[in-house]
Symmetry: C2
Subunit: 319 residues, 2 copies
């Protein structure tokens, strides 16, 4: 009989041989990249004083402007506008507000001026009356065809390659990766698994009421949870039930989420994507209707948050 | 140089050698046990026409009466009563209803007569004003000391060994196991990880409003989601975002959850724990204030649901 221990030892060696490849190849070799890698190494090395058990390695990500682009307006708005236009053609009486009239006219600026609240009103009208499954099938059919107005890319092609690498790196290191978005939860779930490798149960977002009828769960009109600003930490406490150790966002709508995350004991990382690259993406921060970043830029650095300079820190934007 | 292929082949053999141990040792060798094992084998065998990918292996479990006992009343009620009594001693003006007065007097029957709604009212008063972390620390301190009125066991000792084995068997076979309870979500999360190996993010339950203040999430008085009856499938669609393939409950409060689960396409398993063992546990079904099971007994068998006869199907009850 052959000894079994050498074989087991070889198995262990094969399983634990170090991965030498760069986990973040689209990130430039800057201080930003070094700090991310240092953080992940410090919380995953059992010999480190900052070691965190895998069960507590929760990382939360905003979606619009953090995992994919959000200009000229949240991508979900283009879906909502298309659907409101179709519905209004059949029944103009649904256009009960200025923002809905703007939506039906395809006036993206008019909808944008209403901010997230205006968009949520449009969504409430455009998205109601379907079962969750029917709605998501409709979103996927739309995503397969629709194109961004200035890049002419499909919207799913406008996700950020460096953030895909960060999500994947974190998961490889035992993190659970979550989306915590002001956008509609069922909209994001329709594509998040394929686009980001994040399953539906790790996506939270703004949500409307639903009703159980005849074995199906139907969407009803209205919004009863806005997963933005202070709603983000509340949503995290409600859905995850533990404080994340890493949070990433790009606007002041993410401030409370980063504050909540980094206020916990032990090692924490807050990260803000700063849109500085007008050439390859869009450049914006302190002004506008959406993605406004003022407090994060003013207070983030002194809170130890990492400000990702898209132009300097990312060698590649799109996949 | 030695060839590496035989070593890899041995590793694979070691990794895939069949587990011959009985995965459900506390279950009697009945038709019930055989049907559970058949179901799990059919959805996990890649050669089976009923094969389900691991991502879709979602199993949902009610808690009270399904994973642990619920007589003479939901265990959370004993916690709430203790805390209401303490609070009322300091401020009797909080006792604004009959059910709250019954709670402060330790009158469990008086609280029970109000059903789940009465309990939620007591919980709303007893549990408010703490951060989520403070509340859960308080629950754990209470659980370490409190004893069940008739068995004198700690409440965590009144979980069902056969259900622990089922949870563990499902996880070993690639399922994600969730709790979907009418009880308070933060209460269950305080002990579910230790008791059931279910982390907080896989626990949903009834919930009150919360508020983000100064880096903490605080519980507010009131209940804004009742995770019972039709609320269970709505909660599942909201939190998980996909239809489970296995659901287990014990009362008509779980009927909609089992219906929603088993109405999906492909292989599905609905399971109801029938409390038939007055000697080792409690015997009850059609009558009473809580855990009432009428429709499930009348319609479950024709819907193909498995009725677990606790007396006949379980060789052991407590761990």
């Amino acid at each position: 009989m052959r000894p079994v221990f050498p074989i087991i030892a070889t198995c262990l060696l094969l399983a634990t041989s170090p991965v030498v490849a760069d986990p973040l190849p689209s990130w430039a070799a800057t201080e930003t990249k070094a700090r991310i890698i240092d953080f992940v190494e410090s919380v995953t090395d059992p010999a480190s004083p900052d070691y965190v058990t895998p069960a507590d390695r929760i990382a939360v990500f905003d979606n619009d402007g953090t995992l994919w682009a959000e200009k000229p307006f949240y991508f979900q708005a283009f879906y909502a506008l298309d659907r409101v236009r179709e519905r209004a053609a059949a029944d103009p009486s649904i256009l009960t507000s200025d923002v809905l009239k703007a939506a039906a006219a395809g006036d993206i600026e008019g909808v944008a001026s209403g901010g997230l609240e205006g968009l949520l009103e449009v969504i409430a009208v455009s998205h109601a009356g379907l079962s969750v499954e029917e709605f998501q099938d409709d979103v996927n059919a739309w995503l397969a065809e629709a194109r961004h107005p200035s890049t002419d890319k499909r919207f799913e092609e406008m996700i950020y390659q460096p953030m895909l690498e960060l999500l994947s790196f974190l998961r490889d290191e035992g993190f659970e990766t979550w989306i915590v978005s002001g956008g509609g939860v069922q909209f994001i779930r329709a594509f998040a698994d394929e686009a980001y490798n994040i399953p539906p149960q790790q996506v939270m977002g703004s949500a409307g009421p639903m009703e159980y009828v005849d074995g199906k769960v139907m969407k009803l009109p209205g919004i009863d949870f806005v997963d933005d600003k202070e709603g983000k930490p509340v949503g995290i406490a409600s859905r995850i039930g533990k404080r994340p150790i890493l949070a990433a966002g790009n606007s002041d709508g993410d401030f409370a989420m980063l504050e909540y995350t980094t206020n916990g004991d032990g090692p924490r990382l807050g990260l803000l994507v700063h849109h500085t690259d007008a050439e390859r993406e869009f450049a914006y921060d302190r002004e506008g209707h959406i993605g406004v970043l003022v407090r994060g830029l003013d207070e983030g650095p002194e809170r130890g948050w990492l400000i990702v300079d898209m132009k300097a820190d990312w060698e590649q934007i799109w996949p």
